[in-house]
Symmetry: C2
């Protein structure tokens, strides 16, 4: 799917792409005049578009928006900041699965250098989210927040919010199994490579999280997120 923004409209049902975003669409879709593509408007509806002009400098389409984007999954994902190398994939994958809230938090085992990665720029996080949305046919960007201090993040978590939801902490030492096919909203916390340390686990459990385990296997964070979401919803 090609995702347009409000600023791309040059008429009521006509959109125009230029520059970097045009290059992306040209490379990914290899379109010609007359081609039909799935399209969506960022934060809005989805439908079909027909290419009316394409060259080195410009792409114009007429579009018909006919449907709402797919429903989100009711999860707020709290992730110990992953290595920069995997961050992009994690954001795109979470966004493709319909996650609408992502908190990237610090943890004892997160290397300090990760917080200096240029991949944490708003622009990159937005770009990776859009790649996930375009793949999935969705239009709604996740809200991604950075929390460089574990303790102040925990302090800011509202106890009411946690009580109303199912707050789960994925930890190999968790005593309970990960629940299946839940119907209520979930807050899901996933630790760094090597896991949260015991003190962090205790802190999260004190404010209402339940430690749950996927069994004895350790998975990479991108695998664990998809596995957990598949199981939960």
């Amino acid at each position: 799917m090609v995702l347009f923004e409000e600023g791309d409209f040059v008429g009521e049902d006509r959109v125009r792409l230029q520059n970097r975003r045009l290059d992306h669409v040209r490379k990914v879709h290899r379109v010609s005049v007359g081609d039909e593509l799935r399209v969506g408007v960022l934060g809005g509806r989805v439908g079909r578009g027909s290419v009316v002009q394409i060259d080195e400098k410009i792409l114009e389409m007429t579009i018909r928006l006919e449907a709402d984007p797919p429903a989100p999954i009711p999860v707020r994902l709290i992730l110990a900041l992953p290595r920069p190398k995997v961050l992009n994939r994690v954001i795109a994958a979470a966004s493709s699965m319909g996650v609408r809230e992502i908190d990237l938090i610090n943890s004892w085992r997160v290397e300090k250098s990760y917080w200096r990665s240029p991949r944490l720029s708003d622009e990159n996080l937005r770009h990776q989210s859009i790649l996930g949305l375009e793949l999935a046919g969705d239009t709604v960007l996740p809200a991604i927040k950075l929390h460089r201090l574990f303790t102040s993040f925990v302090r800011e978590m509202s106890p009411q919010m946690i009580r109303r939801q199912l707050a789960l902490l994925a930890d190999p030492g968790g005593q309970r199994e990960v629940p299946r096919s839940v119907t209520q909203p979930v807050v899901l916390a996933i630790g760094p490579e090597g896991g949260f340390i015991q003190r962090e686990i205790d802190t999260l459990c004190e404010i209402g999280f339940a430690a749950v385990s996927l069994g004895p296997r350790i998975l990479r964070v991108e695998t664990a997120i998809a596995y957990l979401l598949g199981r939960l919803f």
Copy 2:
């Protein structure tokens, strides 16, 4: 976890690593004499090892094997050959989740050049599998087979085997939902980027596969595998 092979044993409970595999362990684990590590023997049991010597050329450990590796998940994964860029991640992730049988098959939308990738070498597939096993604390390599012709692969699939198992084909157009928490063994087929073509879907359904859908969202193959396995088991 560090995975040893039969040939690494230099005594009943003593193992030695050299060369390329030593470099890998040194880089990943940064061990010193006296350190305890989780260890396993390829195809065998798991336990703890204690480093008795480490230098540029050699690592020696005494090991105690105390437990069986984690149970596999009862799934045979049939994957349209992914892009070389994602193949490594897919193999390591499947292996970390406990998949023991992987068939990489051709499909109309698999680019022919993918079959010439050096990543399809036995050595690379084995290496990626081992990375997944070491992460998960498992010791049993998946059997990975390459099938360069879709039709002969389908012809060789035994109808008895399919009837005894739950044969599922993940397809966005599938009429049924993906079942949850199944107890019987599953054969799970996942198409290429862009999906299987209708003729391939028909062929698989004729021999007993049921087309199932994850909903309207399209996911990357590595995300889809973990999501499906989390939901199925």
